[in-house]
């Protein structure tokens, strides 16, 4: 009896160890590291605050990562493909203002949303055109559109906020379904859609191929510039969606909205293991990166740490993530 129990226990332990190893293989060491970091964060903050595991607080964590999460999906795709997009914060603000203006002009929710998404797509395609066809460095190209789009948002609005008059739209940003905020569901939907699509379609395959070796992709007959256009277009579209969710949540559109959101987005993407050099990265990693940052921000608020310190922590997290990427890259090159 005892012998049989021991054998069963060993078999069980073996199965668990095997499952953990298989999961580690599938996720990659970096994702495992993030999960451990997340566990440590949760343990620390939960032990310091009795409110950490409350439903309201968990919902707040979800809300805190929803908008950046939607935009981070597009940014991950662009960065895996070897690009960079600094214009997302400006696109979010401009798209939000477009939607608010359209609704107040009586265009209706659907038309307003489509107009805002069209603006995001247009700026994304413009970024893609400048990078892929005019061969301008993506950092400079999107820094340019960052300034142009943000500036135009100020010019068109006269620097004033636009309060959304359609309450049905505002409800979209504040309502919950089965206790989960709609903004979180939108983010999860975007992650699931692209996470499922990336390994199964040419869109995903060419994202990695172009980021890994654009010349090889070109020699293999892949229309590299056209695909880059698609990646930047997707990033623009998702930035616009992020802008729409912002306006729906706040109830008004401001030309100063989502200022320096690109920093939050890029931090999450790099922290999630996407390589600055392109070719490597996963949406699941980005999701974990977002979660680590959201829990950190939330924990700091619960611990009454002044807001200014949160900026400092964000900067440190970004530098740590870039440093980790550099170490990974050097190891790969040495290997």
């Amino acid at each position: 009896m005892t012998g049989s129990t021991t054998v069963q226990a060993r078999t069980f332990t073996g199965t668990v160890v095997g499952a953990v190893r298989a999961a580690a293989g599938r996720l990659g060491g970096f994702a495992i590291g993030l999960i451990i970091a997340l566990g440590i964060e949760i343990a620390i903050f939960a032990s310091r605050s009795p409110y950490f595991f409350s439903v309201i607080n968990l919902t707040n964590i979800g809300r805190g990562m929803a908008i950046v999460g939607i935009v981070a999906v597009g940014a991950t795709i662009v960065m895996i493909a070897g690009g960079f997009d600094l214009s997302v914060g400006s696109v979010m603000a401009a798209s939000g203002m477009t939607a608010a203006w359209a609704m107040n002009a009586g265009l209706g929710i659907v038309s307003a949303i489509l107009l805002a998404l069209a603006l995001g797509l247009t700026v994304g395609l413009l970024n893609g055109t400048i990078v892929a066809y005019m061969r301008i460095n993506p950092l400079i190209a999107t820094l340019g559109t960052l300034g142009i789009v943000r500036g135009l948002a100020f010019v068109v609005s006269g620097g004033q906020e636009i309060v959304v008059s359609d309450m049905a739209f505002v409800e979209l940003g504040t309502q919950e379904v089965l206790g989960i905020p709609i903004s979180v569901l939108v983010m999860l939907g975007v992650f699931v859609f692209f996470g499922w699509r990336m390994p199964r379609t040419r869109f995903g395959r060419y994202t990695y191929a172009i980021g890994s070796n654009a010349r090889a992709a070109k020699l293999a007959g892949i229309p590299v510039a056209r695909w880059q256009l698609a990646f930047y277009g997707t990033a623009g579209l998702l930035a616009a969606l992020g802008g729409l969710v912002t306006v729906a949540r706040v109830g008004s559109a401001q030309p100063t909205a989502n200022l320096s959101a690109e920093l939050d987005v890029i931090t999450a993407v790099i922290l999630g293991g996407t390589s600055l050099a392109g070719g490597r990265g996963r949406l699941f990693g980005t999701f974990l990166g977002l979660l680590v940052i959201a829990v950190l921000n939330n924990g700091l608020v619960l611990a009454d740490v002044p807001t200014y310190w949160q900026q400092v922590v964000k900067g440190i997290v970004l530098l740590t993530a870039v440093f980790a990427d550099e170490i990974r890259r050097s190891r790969r090159e040495e290997g």
Binding site: P199, R200, T201, R202, S212, K218, L219, G221
Partner: protein, 248 residues
């Protein structure tokens, strides 16, 4: 009729004539070696034949038909495959993904089409085994040795049953064993009717598998040699003389 005919082919980059007047023919099951010093125009010629560069002048005829390859994919669709000197592989993709890069088989699901990942993995494993390698198809190319990578590049060209195979310095990173496997494969492809164009600094490889050797100098054909019936020493001396224009 020759399978491949290159007629007065030329390529100019700005004011520089990289290739100014190159002509040769190639039959099915025949192998020719292209040799020449650096800057002789070998790589430019191969890039025109593989659709990377468009010729500035002259023509390329495939079975007598004038072909103007608009892209590498167009050349590959016509049965012209190439193994590039730098291999042109994506290190962050696995073996199967590299072999099928740009030509991924897809499965239809209603209006959508998805990559046939299982089919690609199976075929990739088969073609790698045929090349004497047992590297799993899901292995990242960036984690492989130089020799293994070269075999992946070869597998990519062979998977699609080429009519013309261009090999640009294919043995540069291979061990002696792997060179033997590759050269054996070239012989086998010849016997199956594939036309081969081999660029190699290893004259022994060229003399071993090639029926003719085209020597290029300053973008033009300096001469053509037939190794059969000649000693290696005499061939080497003739090739050297044609490449440099100086008697050995």
């Amino acid at each position: 009729m020759a399978l491949l005919e290159v007629r007065n082919l030329a390529k100019r980059f700005g004011r520089v004539d990289a290739v100014s007047d190159v002509s040769f023919t190639l039959d099915a099951g025949e192998a020719i070696g292209l040799i020449g010093d650096n800057g002789a125009g070998k790589s430019t010629l191969v890039k025109m034949l593989s659709g990377v560069h468009r010729p500035s002048g002259g023509s390329i005829l495939l079975e007598g038909r004038d072909v103007r390859f608009a892209s590498p994919l167009a050349a590959r669709a016509s049965g012209v495959e190439i193994i590039h000197q730098d291999l042109a592989l994506a290190p962050d993709l696995d073996v199967a993904a590299n072999i099928f890069l740009g030509r991924e088989p897809r499965r239809r699901f209603g209006p959508f089409r998805f990559l046939d990942r299982k089919g690609m993995a199976k075929k990739a494993a088969e073609v790698m085994v045929a090349l004497g390698s047992h590297v799993p198809p899901d292995r990242l190319v960036g984690e492989m040795s130089g020799g293994e990578r070269q075999l992946v590049a070869a597998a990519r060209a062979l998977e699609f049953q080429p009519r013309v195979l261009l090999l640009d310095e294919p043995t540069a990173a291979l061990s002696t064993d792997k060179i033997r496997v590759l050269m054996g494969l070239v012989e086998e492809l010849k016997s199956r009717g594939v036309a081969i164009v081999l660029i190699s600094h290893r004259f022994t490889d060229v003399l071993h598998v090639c029926d003719r050797v085209v020597v290029l100098r300053r973008g033009e054909v300096a001469g053509e040699l037939v190794p059969k019936g000649e000693t290696s020493e005499r061939m080497m001396a003739k090739m050297h003389q044609m490449m440099t224009g100086v008697s050995a």
